[in-house]
């Protein structure tokens, strides 16, 4: 469904992504794990096209020079030069790190803004689905999104991304700053979304432990390079992974 080949991203002379290749098949959940500054968010920005906007803005204000290399193909089409909104139209929707809700809008309005690409019927149907997936949101629809707790915000953020009718959902650190019990709710939603909506998911996380059981395939990044990749079972059996990421 999505393949990335030889992705290289430079911020000035700093190499943020070093020759990363990644693939996500139809109906798969793919995990990308790594510590802070391993390049997870840069990878998500590159796949979703946001990096082009960052590059343009930096150029306009005379900031960092960002250079991109490598190809991204989505359903047989080269999308490396498409802007983020064009990629979203094709079904690649990013749910960003730290959620980035529209803080002054209510929860319902956040979801409605998310439905920009959806038809009226799709929007209504998806709204119902999101409330079914995350029942706590039902009571919060009128609340300003900026005043929700982290877990509630993350549910809104995922719901908002679903409203855009994605075929490939990019989840960037969905568990960041959440309490363990809320982490469970969010993590368990991932396979549900995949099974019920047929949406493929690429999810990044610092801590592999809660997410690992739900992925089909995973990549482990360090300093912008892939150091390990494999199916879930391969990685779970790997002694290096065990010691580095599960602490046993």
């Amino acid at each position: 469904m999505l393949t990335a080949d030889g992705l290289m991203v430079f911020y000035e002379n700093m190499l943020a992504l070093n020759n990363i290749s990644l693939r996500c098949d139809e109906g798969q959940v793919v995990g990308v794990f790594g510590a802070n500054s391993a390049g997870k968010s840069t990878l998500m920005y590159t796949l979703s096209g946001i990096i082009l906007d960052i590059r343009h803005k930096e150029k306009m204000r005379g900031g960092e020079r960002i250079s991109l290399f490598g190809d991204v193909h989505y359903r047989g089409e080269a999308i490396g030069e498409l802007k983020a909104n064009q990629r979203a139209r094709r079904g690649i929707v990013l749910c960003p790190e730290r959620r980035r809700l529209f803080p002054e809008s209510s929860v319902l309005e956040n979801l409605k803004i998310g439905a920009y690409l959806a038809s009226r019927d799709e929007a209504r149907e998806t709204l119902g689905y999101v409330l079914e997936l995350f029942p706590p949101l039902k009571k919060l629809l009128k609340r300003a999104a900026g005043f929700l707790s982290g877990g509630e915000q993350q549910m809104v953020a995922i719901g908002r991304a679903l409203m855009a009718q994605p075929k490939l959902l990019l989840l960037d650190e969905p568990l960041l700053g959440l309490a363990p019990s809320v982490q469970q709710v969010v993590v368990e939603a991932i396979p549900v979304i995949r099974d019920q909506r047929g949406i493929s998911v690429i999810v990044t996380e610092q801590y592999a432990r809660p997410v690992m059981p739900h992925v089909d395939y995973a990549y482990i990044l360090e300093n912008g390079s892939t150091v390990l990749e494999g199916t879930r079972d391969e990685l779970l059996d790997n002694p290096d992974v065990k010691s580095a990421y599960f602490g046993c």
């Binding site: 730290r98 529209f102 803004i113 920009y116 855009a164």
Partner: protein
């Protein structure tokens, strides 16, 4: 009672002058310094349609507003798109466009105070024994109707919601498929049309002159700075604070101190509370 009613009218007038500027800045972070020029241009276009071509006001006004919106689209697509993100260039470019329009009009021979737009309806009503002419009633009604219309637009329409998304977090909106060039074009066009709306309502109270363009720009900037750049609620609040200050100054002082009020308001705000009444609230951002 005089002060209460005429202050209210002055406030609504400021709202009509400033809301378009605030809307454009709020959505796309573009300071449209051609705002005053578009205001005057709409005035002249409508004047030409009414007084020269003899069209009825009901036809001329929509045509005038459409012209304003089209000028807005042209300004964004031809100029602003290329310099967007370079803040100083945005200011210089829009200010230059404004100058070109205003001085262009002047050099076409549109000087003096002989041109005026007809009022909607001639007549006077008494509010609490204070005489108010119909046009000033229209200023208040249409000022509030404009805010209400924009509020409904950003709440219930797809493109309006997109504007709201872009205004709050541009990149997050882009991730959802919203095109920031499209929303910026819509915002500039809408802002220009609102400037034009202000013109066709307010200019009948005076005459259509080029100098008005500079005045409107300064008023609009003063209202937006005091209210907090990009905040719509702040724009409404600041219109009232400044509208009453202006009217009180006129009532107890001299009319030409009006401009001083505005400039003092800008300076005071920048010294005391640079983000204005309702500047973007930082504390909401980092809640984890």
């Amino acid at each position: 009672m005089d002060i209460l009613i005429y202050g209210f009218i002055q406030s609504s007038a400021l709202l009509l002058m400033a809301f378009g500027f605030s809307l454009v800045y709020g959505v796309s972070r573009l300071p449209n310094f051609a705002h005053g020029a578009i205001y005057v241009l709409t005035g002249f276009v409508t004047w030409g349609l009414v007084q020269r071509l003899g069209l009825p006001l009901a036809v001329a006004i929509p045509l005038g507003l459409t012209t304003a919106a089209l000028v807005g689209v042209a300004v964004y697509q031809l100029v602003l798109r290329r310099v967007r993100g370079m803040e100083v260039s945005e200011v210089i470019a829009t200010y230059a466009i404004g100058l070109a329009i205003l001085e262009g009009l002047r050099s076409l021979g549109l000087r003096g105070t002989s041109r005026s737009l007809p009022v909607f309806s001639d007549g006077v009503v008494f509010l609490f024994d204070v005489p108010v002419d119909h046009q000033r009633v229209a200023v208040v009604i249409l000022g509030f109707a404009m805010v209400a219309a924009v509020w409904l637009f950003t709440r219930y329409t797809r493109i309006g919601l997109a504007l709201k998304g872009i205004a709050q977090d541009e990149r997050a909106a882009m991730m959802l498929g919203i095109d920031s060039d499209l929303t910026a074009t819509v915002a500039v066009a809408l802002g220009s049309a609102l400037a034009g709306l202000g013109a066709v309502i307010l200019l009948p109270l005076g005459s259509v002159v080029v100098e008005e363009g500079y005045k409107i720009l300064i008023y609009a900037i003063a209202v937006c700075v005091v209210g907090g750049l990009g905040s719509w609620a702040g724009t409404v609040a600041a219109s009232f604070v400044l509208g009453y200050s202006q009217y009180i100054t006129v009532a107890y002082g001299k009319p030409h101190y009006q401009m001083v009020v505005m400039l003092l308001a800008i300076i005071t705000t920048l010294m005391v509370r640079p983000s204005g009444f309702f500047g973007k609230q930082k504390q909401l951002e980092e809640r984890v």
